[in-house]
């Protein structure tokens, strides 16, 4: 069996996927922390342990993401966009649009139905438009990132933010809580803010069904629902949305091996 790996050292989380014969053998997600080099080693090691393999068993490794350059043992680095496209295609061959909500950017891709992106858009360099915003608020509200989605769905009385800055929103959220606002209502406000930004990007690119949503932000059901409401369409969400780009990187590695790379 030929094993290949895709490693995505994201700004917030690092992901590794090991595949063989086009099937996922094992994967792992870890927070990126400060040291990308170290994280890269850890996430790979954990994945390999799960797969009961060692690094030398891997025929080809493709690294992507913010810290791709820190993956000293990769065979090559590739573009996030093309790996995302591959990953989405693998999971949802019918998807023609994909939204990736990552820690630093939100990306919107147009897909050709063969695993390639035909065009794409990236959000601005302001944390208020990225998944990082979710982390910031989750932290100050002292809620686990995993729980914010479900919780926000309980909102009856959305609180809209006075500020467009993620940092100030953090203190605003805190004061709101102190003044008695429910956490779910604050989260719902947060989701609305983010969803509106994402919606504009999607519409600018032109939405075509099916539309998939991936990246860490897709784990947030509240955000997903909010985007769905804005776009008036149902979104496809994979079971493990965060590893899609890493999966694409592994697929690319597979292609390379097949080509005899």
């Amino acid at each position: 069996m030929v094993y290949v790996a895709g490693i995505d050292i994201g700004s917030a989380f690092s992901k590794a996927v090991v595949m063989a014969e086009n099937k996922i053998i094992a994967y792992q997600v870890l927070p990126s922390g400060g040291n990308y080099k170290l994280t890269a080693e850890q996430v790979t090691e954990k994945t390999l342990t799960k797969a009961k393999l060692s690094l030398k068993d891997i025929a080809y490794t493709v690294a992507i993401g913010y810290g791709a350059a820190s993956v000293s043992f990769s065979s090559e680095t590739a573009s996030d966009i093309s790996c995302l496209a591959r990953g989405v295609y693998y999971l949802f061959p019918n998807a023609r649009t994909a939204i990736d909500i990552g820690g630093q950017f939100t990306r919107v891709l147009k897909l050709d139905g063969r695993g390639k992106a035909t065009s794409f858009l990236l959000s601005e360099k302001c944390a208020a438009g990225s998944g990082r915003f979710l982390q910031v608020i989750a932290r100050v509200l002292q809620i686990d990132l995993e729980d914010i989605g479900e919780l926000s769905l309980k909102s009856k009385n959305r609180v809209d933010f006075n500020t467009g800055c993620a940092v100030f929103a953090e203190s605003e959220a805190v004061s709101r809580v102190a003044e008695g606002a429910a956490k779910e209502d604050i989260l719902a406000g947060l989701h609305r803010t983010l969803a509106a930004k994402i919606q504009t990007m999607v519409e600018r690119l032109g939405i075509e069904p099916d539309c998939a949503v991936v990246g860490g932000g897709a784990k947030d059901i509240g955000l997903v629902r909010s985007i769905e409401a804005g776009l008036a369409c149902k979104l496809l969400v994979p079971d493990e949305p965060q590893i899609v780009a890493a999966l694409g990187a592994a697929l690319l590695a597979g292609e390379k091996v097949a080509k005899g790379g």
């Binding site: 800055c165 100030f168 805190v174 102190a178």
Partner: protein, 281 residues
């Protein structure tokens, strides 16, 4: 005539400051505005009164200022931070013509004439360029705010911070640290980044000497030095820069009372009862 007392309450985004004055400052208290403390401006006030050994009834006039000024139910009047900082600096450092105030949620430049504000500029839209930028990045680096200034002075090879966004800058510096860049060099880079932004903004006012630095940012020697390098001359810092706004508020209260007395008007005052404040209407 019995002696008159004035209180200034500055509810900042980060710190709540209260002073009680007559001719001089009788008591001052600085407490965090932190989440759970936000509505507790009344506690800080109580503390200041206790220190000054006065009852609330004895205070002639209370002026509230700062980000949270709007909802201080026990204040007689609300006045913006801009006027208060100007008045405070005019009192403390009469030779000053330009004030740069670096607070937690905003930073501003104020032009002074005869100890009063005549023009100003302000940034409160993006955390980059405010004190919060340093708070967030310091937290990321695991350095206390107090240490930031001193550490940055040890820099030998300042690095450039490429992210404008505070959130991403915090992340960038963590990565830099893990790459082995020296901590002081990173911190100096942060100070440089914020100094560029603040200087660019304040310059709209046609900076005139002397220049005073107030607000929490002025407690950071690294930032002071970075701004001085931009200005090309030294700046003045009041003994306790955090209190400038509250002192100004108290003094403005005094001005109001005096003016009313001269005109023979009676002033409307709030009920002397300490209640909780809120930030949002």
């Amino acid at each position: 005539m019995k002696s008159q007392y004035f209180a200034g309450v500055d509810i900042g985004s980060t710190m709540t400051k209260v002073v009680v004055m007559n001719q001089t400052t009788l008591a001052s208290v600085i407490g965090p505005t932190g989440p759970e403390h936000r509505k507790l401006a009344n506690r800080v006030m109580e503390e200041a009164l206790a220190k000054a050994r006065l009852s609330f009834d004895e205070i002639t006039y209370v002026v509230a200022t700062g980000y949270g000024r709007i909802n201080v139910p026990f204040a007689d009047k609300q006045i913006t931070e801009i006027s208060c900082h100007a008045r405070g600096v005019g009192h403390l450092l009469p030779e000053v013509r330009t004030v740069i105030d670096i607070g937690g949620q905003d930073s501003k430049g104020i032009k002074l004439k005869e100890g009063r504000a005549v023009d100003f500029v302000m940034n409160d839209k993006c955390a980059a360029g405010t004190g919060r930028f340093l708070e967030v990045t310091a937290e990321g680096l695991g350095v206390s705010l107090e240490e930031m200034g001193r550490l940055s002075l040890e820099a030998e090879n300042r690095v450039e911070i490429s992210s404008i966004c505070t959130v991403f800058a915090a992340q960038e510096v963590v990565a830099k640290l893990s790459e082995g860049v020296a901590l002081p060099d990173i911190i100096a880079g942060l100070h440089e980044a914020i100094a560029i932004r603040i200087y660019g903004m304040v310059r709209r006012l046609k900076i005139e000497r002397e220049v005073a630095l107030t607000g929490g940012g002025a407690k950071n020697i690294g930032l002071v030095k970075a701004l001085e390098a931009k200005l090309g001359f030294p700046v003045l810092v009041p003994p306790e820069p955090l209190l400038t706004g509250a002192i100004g508020a108290a003094l403005l209260g005094k001005d109001i009372v005096q003016e009313a007395a001269e005109k023979g008007e009676t002033l409307v005052r709030s009920e002397r009862r300490l209640t909780e404040a809120s930030i949002f209407t």
